[in-house]
Symmetry: C2
Subunit: 235 residues, 2 copies
DNA sequence: CGACGGGTTGAGGAAACTCAACGCATGTGG
DNA sequence: CCACATGCGTTGAGTTTCCTCAACCCGTCG
């Protein structure tokens, strides 16, 4: 995990960050220290229970948020993509609620939570931006609850693959750094069951996999399995 | 559904509301129009897709947030208790994401979303309070994901009953307005399966039920089933 | 080389679902 | 008042879905 000072003014993500609402002048005057962090698969950004000092913005790559049950079973609560935030629960709780583990080579911005706290009290725009991100996270969590509560394994997996693909538009071959245990921990299934279904999808030529990359050959077939028909009009 | 003007200054919930940080002077100067609403079982506060005009604070009673899948299956995304907020997704989305249905006789405060929007831009304390509520909601959703993803039906139900009880401390006989279909829709199970397990709990004298009220006779037994107590091996 | 972790496959069993029937309240119209 | 429908809860039988346990393959790493 390497890190250096970062220059927010020139960041490619600037217009999608929590500082998006600020103009150059304001941004320069923040005096906010932002670290630029590069890390790779398996790196642990923080563990559950760690005292929360930093928050992060994921610029590229993928991160999983993991929680484990008393019985030892691990669950992936959320998967993070380009543009997502993590660690912001530290603004309220003293400790992190889950572990954050890097899935693929990633670049992140690391912010000091105490500084951010002070900043957000002064700047309603920042506060507002953070609130919107919380809302997005809640939305995605609620969607996940629907999946787990109402769909069977095949449909969950199909939905998931299609959603994963949405994060890489205009890419034929998608980065897919998730292991079978990861998929299982996210979808609430056993690794064997996930493996069987993935093998099934391949046999039906719905998908194709190779070395951490995934290609979706028959999106509409997956969509049928997922229980939603392609682009029917939204009411 | 009756409603009248409400006087926030004298509200019993004032110190737990999103206006908690404001002093009497500030609160009086808001000019915020707040409706006091009373409603009973089955009332629909709003439906999924309704354009979002109002947000609510639940003062007493219980409300369910429901989403339904294309296949017709309904899922209860969240259950709301005394002090919880609802409808605030309207601050970001133009339409409500789920339906809000009253489970038990309830009293709510209804706020105009546009007014609230303007207010929160002016008052960081309000913005901050709302952000904290989003965070709480996210936390509870993540806990729910854990339940659905990692626990068996018996354990889910046991955990749920114990959590429900926590919302009514120092009450022996708890208000319990949930039907079997409700429980099933919240826990991701079939109504029959829920019914069987509840009957089991009664046979083991873990719980007792009568006309919308529930008594938990053996919390520690339920806690063991819930998996909360370190690895007792089941016989 | 052997150990190891990830993926696959099979067999058997447990968990949960579906379908169906029935009891019991409540409500409605004749 | 009865006859009847309706909705919830319960229970049973049979089936599907999913899990567990185990074996095996394969690439990587020491």
């Amino acid at each position: 995990m390497q890190h250096k000072r970062s220059d927010c003014l020139q960041c490619a993500m600037r217009d999608r960050s929590i500082f998006a609402g600020l103009n150059t002048e304001e941004l320069r005057s923040l005096g906010m220290e932002v670290q630029d962090i590069a890390c790779h698969q398996g790196d642990v950004l923080y563990r559950k229970g760690d005292s929360a000092r930093h928050a992060y913005t994921l610029r590229t790559g993928a991160v999983k948020l993991v929680k484990s049950l008393e019985n030892g079973r691990e669950v992936i609560i959320r998967l993070l993509h380009r543009g997502d935030l993590l660690g912001f629960e530290g603004m309220q709780d003293a400790q992190h609620r889950h572990a954050a583990i890097v899935l693929a080579p990633s670049q992140l911005c690391r912010l000091d939570l105490a500084e951010l706290q002070r900043l957000s009290e002064r700047l309603p725009k920042v506060q507002e931006a953070i609130r919107q991100r919380w809302q997005q996270a809640l939305q995605s969590s609620e969607d996940h609850i629907m999946e787990l509560g109402a769909k069977r394994a095949e449909a969950r997996l199909a939905t998931f693959l299609l959603q994963w693909a949405e994060h890489y538009p205009r890419l034929r071959s998608l980065p897919f750094p998730l292991s079978r245990p990861d998929l299982a921990a996210f979808l609430g299934l056993s690794t064997e069951h996930v493996s069987r279904i993935m093998a099934d999808f391949k046999r039906h030529a719905f998908i194709q996999e190779q070395r951490g990359h995934l290609e979706i050959l028959a999106p509409q077939s997956l969509a049928e399995l997922a229980g939603k028909w392609p682009d029917h009009k939204p009411d």
